[in-house]
Symmetry: C2
Subunit: 191 residues, 2 copies
């Protein structure tokens, strides 16, 4: 019981610290300090910082509302796609365009050096893209999109374009890159 709670404290702290400082900017000591647990306790719960990063990625993925994209009971597919990206945008806006996306941060910082994190990122981007693709397919099938672009290509493109809009906002922090994303994605590509 106590052990499970200590592990949770470390994951909670890592979630915040990785988000704020990135993968390399954040060592095990910073994580355990901010969790208020002794550094030595870390390795009772995690084999490595990499292993903890995978847990954080999974938890982050769980908060991205990806299943909503394919929930046919919720709304029309285009409305679901818009709601998805609007949720992601609002989450970053409310943090003042800081932090970015855990996946994008780790892709930039850690994918080249850690096969484990890279594999986790491939899985995360694939399952996210697949959900976007699935909603695009639905919208093509029900006629709400007339675009004949290959949905696999368009889905992958949109997920990447979203990651890139975040890169733009990390610099400008003025909403212009998110606005450009919504304009081009919903006024042109998803028509």
């Amino acid at each position: 019981m106590a052990r499970a709670s200590l592990r949770e404290q470390i994951v909670d702290a890592a979630y915040e610290q990785f988000h704020q400082h990135g993968y390399h900017g954040c060592g095990v000591k910073l994580i355990t300090d901010s969790a208020g647990v002794p550094k030595g306790s870390f390795y009772n719960h995690f084999e490595s910082k990499e292993a903890l990063a995978l847990v954080v990625m999974e938890r982050y993925g769980d908060t991205r509302r990806v299943p909503d994209l394919v929930n046919r009971d919720a709304a029309e597919p285009l409305a679901r796609l818009r709601a998805h990206f609007e949720f992601l945008a609002s989450d970053i806006e409310k943090h003042g365009y800081r932090r970015g996306c855990v996946f994008g941060n780790f892709a930039n910082e850690a994918a080249d050096h850690s096969p484990v994190i890279r594999a986790g990122l491939v899985a995360a981007f694939d399952s996210w893209s697949e959900a976007v693709v699935s909603a695009i397919r639905e919208a093509q099938a029900d006629g709400s999109i007339t675009s004949t672009q290959d949905p696999e290509v368009l889905g992958r493109f949109l997920v990447n374009a979203w990651e890139g809009a975040i890169v733009g906002e990390r610099a400008a922090k003025d909403g212009s890159s998110f606005a450009a994303f919504f304009a081009v994605a919903f006024d042109t590509l998803l028509r």
Copy 2:
């Protein structure tokens, strides 16, 4: 003479090391070690790691062939846009989809913590976007693009979408995100 050369050695080394390890993954000592110069010599030439990062960003920007985008003598505007992104893609492919873009890396890692680097990034993304916008305007004016999307919005979107395609390739390293970028950008958006 000797001093100028020492400074160059530091900039060359920083260019490589920032590219490989990112901003936080790369300290002054790593840079001076890889430059083969004493650590103490660093502060004779640069006020801070931040100041060096700005020099590296400028040098990186100079290699991105941005002026070619607006060179009316070189080719038709659409051909210039394609050649620009194909050059950027080939540069990343030849490094095995490692390293990414210095601007994207710094945006993710350092923009939140360094106002100086953030200002440098805003300027870099703005001038890059402006060159893309200018080529789009030309293509709209000469009729080679029928898209009526606001060129400012489309230019910003494309620059960001390119940064996001790099994020996708940092993870997958299989060319699929670059392929999706070219398909959507040139078969749909720039038509």
